[in-house]
Structures are given as C-alpha cells and as structure tokens.
Symmetry: C4
Subunit: 317 residues, 4 copies
C-alpha cells in the first residue's frame, strides 16, 4: 500500500469522497468551524477519548475543569484526614475555622507539594495518606503537563475563507471564485485545494446526493504567504456550466473545500474543510484587491477585506 495515492483524474468516482449518498437535508453538513454534523450512536462511551475531550475544550472550560478537579480531590483527601482525626495533624489551634477546613488545607498543601509544614502529618495513618496524596499530586502534575503540551501542539491552522463564493468574469468565460488566507504568522507550505460540487439527483423514486470534483485553475501552491484566490473555470466541461441560482437552489447545491498543507511551526500536515451552500453564492461579482498599493518595501495585505467584492456586468458564461 502506498502512503499516497495519486489522483491523476480529479473527476473521480462519486463515492471516493467518503460522504455517502443519503443525506437529503438542507442543513449544513459541515459546520462553520469545520466539523461534520454527524452523530455516532450505539457504542456508549467506547468511542470516547478523555484525552481528546481535554485537548479540544476551550481554555476557559479547561481551567474550570482543572479547578473543579482540584477542589474535589482535596475534599476527598480532606475527608480522609478528618476521619483519621485532626489530632494527627499539627497546629489545630486555630479557632478561625473548623476542623474539616484544617484537614482540607493540609490536603491542598500536600497535593501541590508546597508542603509548608505548619500543618504536618503525625503518626502512621495520616503520614501514609499524605505520602500517597503527594504521589498522586506528582502524577497529576505529569498529567496536566501532558494535556497542556497536547493542547499546544495540536496544530490549529487558522485559514480565513471569504464568506461568499462568487461567479466572476474569468478570462473569456466565467469562473467560480473564493479566497483564502493564512491568519497565522506560521508558514503553510505545499498547500493543496480540492473543490467538490455536491447536489441532489433523482434516481428512480428517491433522491441521492452526488459529489463531483471541480477542476481548479491552480490546485497546489508551494508557499502561502499571500491570499490565494481559488478559481474553477466554468467552461463547457464544468458540471455547473450555465446553471443559475434557481437551478442550484433546487438541487440543494453545496460547494465543499478540502485544504491540506504542511505547517512549518508545528511540523505537521494540517487539514481544513469548508462548505459554501446556495445562499452563499453571488453571481456577477468579483473580489476587491487586498494589497495596499501605497506600501513600499514590505507587502501589506488587508485580511479584513477578504470577503469584499463588487458587482460586475454579466457576461455570457
């Protein structure tokens, strides 16, 4: 089995995309953040990965999760010290709080290994529990560190897409155009793009969703420091040749983009998928320039203009 498969013929068989034919809904199949709207059922928690869950949650939720776990673990150990007896910890002569609170704070000082020592274990039982708790604390550090690095190293390319896909003049014909840019300062290298046209087709009594690859003017660039306008030339061979907005709407057309590139900061391949549906197509329009013509020396790119377009006079396609 080869690592890679060459796609000499970009108009491949329908099913090669791996998305099946049964979805009829007009809802987005790919959400705005690039996730599939697929629900997997019937396997309980067997498909659940605690690691993935911790890696993919937001930083705010992650911090809340850590804090909550910290409190729960200390309540647990605090209770054990309390059951052993507060007299087996030093210095409970503090009338400003109760016995359990003393045990709880001893637990926090043990778990984090700060170990001030004002409160210390006395006797074998509390010493043993403290020895175990501090080991758990150390493993907890290791665990948190692993998760932290996992969160860092999960490459999250941030590719900006124009929020519309345009049917624009292109050479002597028309072209289907959208624009992407790398928001990050990290370099993306060897970028590949693939554009799929998806639509409902009648097949006997039922409708099936079909996918066809659309040829691109350029489907690969070596370096991606500047915005890239990706163009499908709408020539006679194009499956959307002379199709208007009504026709595309009727067949619930979607345009699916698969991007792939090598992230030079994370030294890994990154993927991003994006979907434009019929509402996001604009006919007879073209993108505004994003470069600052006045800038000298350095090249200035205005990423906030990525979706800016102007209407153009219609030509026959």
């Amino acid at each position: 089995m080869a690592v890679n498969r060459k796609t000499n013929n970009f108009t491949e068989k329908f099913r090669e995309l791996g998305l099946g034919t049964r979805r009829l809904s007009t809802d987005r199949f790919i959400s705005k953040n690039g996730q599939f709207n697929v629900v997997k059922r019937g396997i309980g928690l067997k498909g659940f990965s605690f690691y993935n869950w911790l890696i993919n949650m937001s930083w705010a939720r992650f911090f809340a999760f850590v804090t909550l776990s910290y409190i729960l673990v200390n309540l647990f150990f605090g209770t054990i010290y309390f059951l052993i007896g507060v007299e087996y910890l030093t210095e409970y002569n503090d009338n400003s709080y109760n016995e359990f609170t003393h045990c709880f704070f001893f637990s926090t000082q043990t778990l984090t290994t700060v170990g001030f020592g004002r409160i210390s274990p006395v006797g074998p039982a509390s010493s043993f529990v403290a020895a175990f708790e501090s080991m758990i604390g150390v493993l907890g550090f290791a665990f948190a560190t692993g998760i932290m690095y996992g969160r860092f190293s999960k490459a999250r390319s941030k590719i900006l897409f124009s929020n519309r896909i345009l049917v624009s003049p292109y050479k002597e014909i028309k072209g289907l155009k959208f624009r992407i840019a790398n928001m990050r300062d990290s370099q993306l290298i060897d970028m590949e793009a693939r554009l799929m046209y998806s639509f409902l087709q009648n097949e006997g009594h039922e409708q099936k969703r079909r996918y066809i690859s659309l040829d691109l003017e350029i489907n690969f660039i070596n370096l991606f420091p500047l915005p890239w306008t990706i163009v499908h030339p709408i020539d006679e061979k194009s499956p959307i040749y002379q199709k208007g907005v009504l026709e595309l709407g009727k067949e619930r057309a979607e345009f699916l983009i698969i991007l792939k590139g090598f992230d030079d900061t994370f030294n890994t391949y990154v993927h991003q998928i994006h979907e434009y549906n019929t509402d996001e197509i604009v006919f007879d329009a073209d993108f505004d320039p994003m470069f600052d013509p006045a800038a000298q020396g350095e090249t200035h790119v205005h990423l906030n203009k990525i979706s800016d377009f102007h209407k153009v006079e219609s030509k026959k396609a």
Copy 2:
C-alpha cells in the same frame, strides 16, 4: 529512495506483503487487537524497550507500576536514613510508629518534594542523601511526565470492523464486503484500504502460504465521518471467483486488511490491520443500514449495527 512507492499494479508479487510463505497453522496470524502472533527469540533483552513497555501497558498496570516503584524507592532511601540513624532526622518523638517508619515517611516527603519539614535532615550525611533523593524525585517527575505524554500522544485509532465478511449481491455480480467505522470523534483523513487474500498452495511436496491483493471498488476515501463498506467485486478476474466455503476452508483462506489514514487530532498517520478467517465469511448475505432515517438535520449513525446483516437469495456469481 522515494518516500512512497506507487502501487500501480495492485496484484503485486506474493512476497511484497512481508509475511513469508511458511506459516501453515490455522491459528490467527493477526490477533483480534491487531497484533502479529510472532515470537522473537534469541536476542535476550536487546530488543526490549522500557519506554515501549511503559507506553503500551494498560492504565491500571501503569498505575500499579508507578505505585510499586514509589514504594521501592522509598524503602531504599528509608533504609539509608535508618542506617545513618534516626537521630539525624528531626522530631522522632512519636511513639505511634517505629524508627524505620519515621525514616520511610521522611523519604516520601523528600522524593515528592512536598518537604513538610516537620521531619528534616540534621547533619551532613542525611542532608546529603536528602539532596540526592530530591534530585531523583525531580528527575522522576520528568520521567513520569514524559511517559504520560507518550501514552497520550500514541495515537490509538479505534476502527470498528464488522465481525463478518459477506459475499453479497453487487451490481450484476457478487461482491466480498465488510464494513468499517471510526469510533472516535477525531477525524481520519485520506483513508486507504488494502485487502489481501491469503491461502495455502501445494508446491511440490510442501504447502506454502500465498498472498494476492484483491481489487477494491474504492480503495481510498478523502473523509471518513461515516461508515465505509469496502467491496471487492467478485468478477471473472477475481482469484476467489466461484470459490465456495468448502474450497476456502480447505486452503485455509484468510482475508487480511491493511488500513491507513491521517489522524487529524494527533496529526499523524495511523495504521490498523485486521484479519478475517474462513469461519468469519457469510455467503449470500448483505449488511443492514446503519443510518437513522427519522433523524432530521444531523446525520445519525448507529455504530452498534455495524455487523448486522440479513440473508439474501443466492445469485450465480
């Protein structure tokens, strides 16, 4: 040497799979968890990797290993402090446990760097050992963290296989079918599948095991959010054309699957191998659908139905 090798001709030479010809046994060559039943001998521990061992054990065994190591290291250092003399540690005025226990608990407080300080080293000998032990403790943290992250980052794709491989109607002929699904929420991208047919062949006086690649309807999909039914069309060119269950049983037929894909959470290629033996073939059957037809908007997939099939009327193959 190219990074990849293109396999234009999927019916390659027999030995390219790398599995040799000598195995005659009917035992599974690939166990249910995707490991080879191969025992390597004669190199002692030279092939042993402590890291691999720690990475691949279960979490329960890993936790037991850490706890045991922790106890052993503390027994070791505790003994040293005891030999130096408990009078070189502070606060041995506790009659609830013996001198060695005092030394042991001092060791745990040093190794984890919790260092309460109620028990502290006095004098150069115990201070020196404590200085060394706390350094070991710090390296131990680092070690545990490295292992922890190694365990996390070892991508373990969980691909669900149907537990049967079916001979089903396929277009006008028959097809050999099995079904796979990604149990994880992480995306697998650029999935490749290869199906090998393995059987015993008489060669003069001896039998040799042979491998032939079977052509697949689709051997590559871009995206894998939905289950994938992999089909080998049993046409006239197929090496299993018109072979029945008796014939396959006699030659101890096995079907070997090699899957490869890119895991978008771990940013790495993952591999999985699987084997169906003769007992796992079902003739004249087809898989039940896994999609929930009632679901609106989102696509619902019932992964617990992956092996469900129904008998179908036989056609001539």
Copy 3:
C-alpha cells in the same frame, strides 16, 4: 486529494508558487533568516498565537518574559496577602524589611511550591489564597514545560548557503551554481531543491513579477552528509540563457530556493527558503574545494569555505 502532488513538469504555471504578481519593489521579499517580508493587517489579534510567539522568541527574551511574569504574579498575590493582613502569615517579626515584602516572599515560596513553611498561612482567607496560588504554580510548571519542549522540538535546520550565486563553467556550457551544507550533526535525508527565477515583465502599461522554475542537474539527494553544489545548466532552453548582469538587474531578477528534507533527529520534514538577488550574482567564477585533501580515514569538510570562489576565464554561454 493526494497527500503529495507530483510535479512531472517542473516548468509549471507562473502562479503555482503562491507568491502573486504585484510586488515591484527591489527590497528582499525573503529576509536573510528565511522569513517573508509580508505584513498582515486588519484582523487585530485574531491571527496571533501566544504559543507561536513564545516558541519563536530568542532564549534571552524567553527567560526575561518568564522572570517578568514571575515577578508580576507574585506582586499580585503578595498584594492579596497584604490586603488580608500580614498577621495571617506566620513569623512577621523580621524588622529588616516591611510587611509587603514579607507577603511577597511568602507568595514566591507558595507559587514555586518550595513552601519552606517559616512563613505559613494562618486562618481560612490566606490559606485559601495559598491553596489557589499553589495550584496556579503547578499549572505554571506544566505550561512552562510545554513551552520548553515546544521550543526544543521545533526543528530548526541550519542550512548554510554560499553568500553568492555563481555563473560558472559547467561541462561544455555555463551553469548557475550555489552551494549548501548542513551545519548540524543531525542527518538530513531525501533532500529536495527547487530553484525559481523571478523577474519583472512588462504587461501592457504595468509591470508584473513572474516566476519560472529552473531545471537542476540534480534536484534530489538521498543523503546529505557532505556539501551539495546545486547547478542549473544554462543551455539554450534556460530562461537566463545569454542574459548578462545588466539585463538581470533591469528586470530586478531574483533567484528563490526552496529546500525540503527529512530531519532524522526530529523525525520531521523541514523546509528552508532562500533568496539571491542581482547583487549576489558573480559571473565567471567557480567555487573553491571544501574538502581537506590531507585528511586520512575520516572525511574533513571546511564549512567556513562554503562561499569561497575564484574567478575563471569567461567562455561563451
């Protein structure tokens, strides 16, 4: 979409490089350290990655950042302890410094989890803050460790380029030559090189920047332990055939190199880009040898000679 795209025809379409056509300036587009001179505007901090920033800064700045953060966090927590009241910390009987300093030092001892215990929290308020601060300390360790490993593992191949690109005798014709070497002891494997010729071209009333791939004598080597002289043969098919220094200067010629290889220490692909502009071309010169002829057994390479060249008599190109 295939992982890789084969570039059978190395003289590809202009725009495939991904660098656009609008830059007219003579300033370097690629700085000496291999970064693009592109400024991205209009997205505020949405493209900013705190992780990337910490990973890519120098060690001196990183250390300064850590120290400053440490001081700020301790000023913050020190202030809280001070507001709670220094009487809720033990041992403020030290007249050599003021109350705030006492709180500040208690904070440092808590955040690093060193926890000497001479200064300890008394009462629920300061104990609670200390419990929280030590948790923050532990997360801070985890954070610092993740960043530290990220800095380590970010493969930074150090490829040395000759500081001139030469037009030298090559076989019966001339060749455009430059020389590279791996400064590191780590092995680079499967090195690929691509050389682009970029120049301004009049197009109606405006000038556009064009890119053409130049054929190389060798564009791929398996192993890279020795310096590699990369040669573009200037034959009749070459776009720079018979062009002189004036002509190249007028069209603001640049030579762009894209290198890619697999780093065997970091187990990852690494990329490097480099630019020679017109000032860096030397006509009728050839590189001096870098090998030490006297060395026996081992092969000695003098990397400091990588840019050394001597003038040679001109031949017709």
Copy 4:
C-alpha cells in the same frame, strides 16, 4: 515541489546519493552504528545544538551530566548565601558541619523545591535569592522534562543486519543476499530498501568513487513482523556480474543499504543506513532458516541466527 520524488529508474545518476566522488580511503564511510565518518570544520560552535547533544548521549552520561549540573548550580547559589551570611538562614546551630555546607544544603532544598523549612531564609537578601533560585529550579524541571521526553520520543529503530552479505544461489542464477529483522516489538510498516554498489573507478589520472543502485527482487514490503532477506539478482545486467572477491577488493567495493519505514509506536518515519565492505562478502554461501519448525500456533523466529549461513556448492553465475 512535490513531497516525494518517484524514482522510476532505480539506476539513477551517480551523484544523486549525495555522497560525492572524492573519498578514496578504505576506512568505513558509515560506522557500525549508522553514522557517517564526516568531520565538519570551520564553523566553531554555530552548528552545535545543545538539545541534540543532550538527546543523543547515553543514559549514563546524561545522568552524570544532570548530577554534575545540580552540584555546580548548588555550589553557585550556596556561595551566594554564604556571602550574604549564614546568619540570614535559620538553624545554623549544627556543629557537625561548617557554615558553607549549611548554605549548600539550603540551596539544594530550594532548587528542588523540597523546601523542608528547617533551614529558611531570613531577611530580604537571602529571601530574594531563594525566590530566584526556586524559579530556576522550576524552569530546570521543565527543561529536564523536555529533554527526557525528547530522549524517549526520538525513535530509535533497532534493525538487526546479518553481519555478512552472501553471494548465494538464486533461482537459476546467483544473488547477492543479506538479511534484516526488526529487534523491537513495535511494528515497522511500508519498509523500503535500497542497495547501492560503490567502487573506485579510474578517471584519467585520478580515482573517483562511483555509486550504482542495484536492482532488488523486492524493494518494498508492507509489513515487517518477520525477517526479510533482501536479494539483488546477479544477472547479466548487474554491475557485479561475474566479479570475484579479488576484483571487488581491488576497486574497494562497498555495499550501502538505505532502509526507511514507518514506526507505528512513534508514528514517524525512521531511517537506517548500513555498509558492507569487501571483507564482509562471502561467496557461495546461503543463510540458515530462522523459523522454529516445531512451534505450533505462534510463529517463532530466532533472531540470534540472523547471520548464520552454510557454504553451498558453486554454480556458474
């Protein structure tokens, strides 16, 4: 630039290997542990990577390095505390050791953050230094952890090579054979092998080293659980056709192997290079089997027999 380059024609141009033509010595160019015998000079420490150095040293040396650094750092900080004055640390009432030792042990307790607290800083100067030292300690942990994980994750495939390369009967002709096996339990996948024949050739007055790729019976295997015997068929097209031991010795022949595979534990590509020189060729011999014929169920492989061979009767090649 494509990620990979297909080597359609395995007998490529000489220089593609990247090893140059000037080495005449009979010394091994590739040492037994797979490193090149190349010395890079003239760049001082600019090519030195502290990280690589720490990653690649033996565990014994690494441990010694850590211990020594620990002692030096504590001598440094101990001296500072001593200069500030031992009276600014608590508890110097211990007559069993001198004042500097007291300061040294305080430093160790601070750096590791064990912080027993029996010895504590008193006054701003020693408190400030302790605050700084404990921060250094925390960064030191992070550093050690990063290095530790770097050492773990540096995939070190252990491929066992037969210590001889044989000229054996192969089908109707002869073949050049050697044998490899994976010592590790981790799986190597998609293994590629390339065999180069290197020899000295007279070119005018001087000798140059040449490299020719030798065709292999099989140069790629999907799975590598069993030993692999790599065979170059010595037919009429082979550059070593009918060459004897004297002829190969005279031209200082070497056989260079480049192996590449994907390590499924480390999820990364691994490379290994190996060299056989003329002394390691055995004519008219064949390898002994490594499989245990008696084993049932599991396949038993005796890796210690990898170099075992027996003489066979010569045939005309």
